[in-house]
Symmetry: C2
Subunit: 198 residues, 2 copies
Amino acid sequence: MGIVKADMAVSLDGYSAGLDQTLEHPFGPLAGERLHTWMFEYGDAHKAEVDAIVGAGAYIMGRNMFSPGRGQWDLEWKGWWGDNPPYHGPVYILTHHARDPIPMEGGTTFHFVTDGIESALEQARAAAGDQDVAIAGGASTVQQYLAAGLLDEMHLHIAPIILGGGERLLENVGDPKLEPVEATGSPAATHLIYRVVR
Amino acid sequence: MGIVKADMAVSLDGYSAGLDQTLEHPFGPLAGERLHTWMFEYGDAHKAEVDAIVGAGAYIMGRNMFSPGRGQWDLEWKGWWGDNPPYHGPVYILTHHARDPIPMEGGTTFHFVTDGIESALEQARAAAGDQDVAIAGGASTVQQYLAAGLLDEMHLHIAPIILGGGERLLENVGDPKLEPVEATGSPAATHLIYRVVR
């Protein structure tokens, strides 16, 4: 069976998104670009990490990562990623508002889960089979899985920037026992892998 | 000429001290031990890092790192480190209250600087000669040197723990340009070195 992992880009001061998130700037103006420079501008040098992020058998994400809207769904909205999202597999979206699944090009299907994080994980595990389940974000979703003891590995991609404000990744998670597994440096980001001991 | 560097132990969520600091627990109960387990329990495995921390030609620290007292000096107080502190060189302590230098065993002398961080750095540089100047802490002192553009390198020793509260290291420092220099993993801590580009 695969593991349950979360891959998150964070600033050196621990923010996974900046202030002032908007439709045009889902991570806040400037912060998104700066948090993901390693991926978008230096992707070749970080191929292993990028491949791993979209190499899971199924994905789980919070509604706010899927959509800028709140409340009832705007049925026109099908995510930030265009017709052919990079997931190429089932993506389970945590929401309070039911919605029919959305099949996209390239094998991605967006499913909407209204009965909580454990149910989403159960469905994702069943769909992933022997492959990993990836908690794709955002911060609040990763926090919930970590706090509930449902995460096996946390992969942090630390951009060498100090944002000074925004959404912190590692708060409201209690005091999980963590074991450093790997630390890899590069000029654009430092990749740290932690195992969550249960 | 040597560089100006700061070595700090931080939790994975960015705290360099926990809550509830007291005389018995200068980093807060439990937090100090957990932040420094890599150094005290696994010192042999981290000899290079530990040697580097006390290998500078001169040191600068904030008053709160030297003493739990505030206001006028208790002249009986000569630091947390006993008769033979680990610095074996001049240590410049930032304070608003003048005090005569205190020569200790083993070559450590505590000097008290009342005219600001630049003056302390000037004195430390002169004393260090070709060797490095180390900003020994605490968080607020490191922040002031980083924000003022006076730091060349920041060495972070990330303990694999989440404290959930305390004194944050990387706040009030503006937006310095940082370059990752080195990332070294171990089971007890991850050591990251950043160069501050000026």
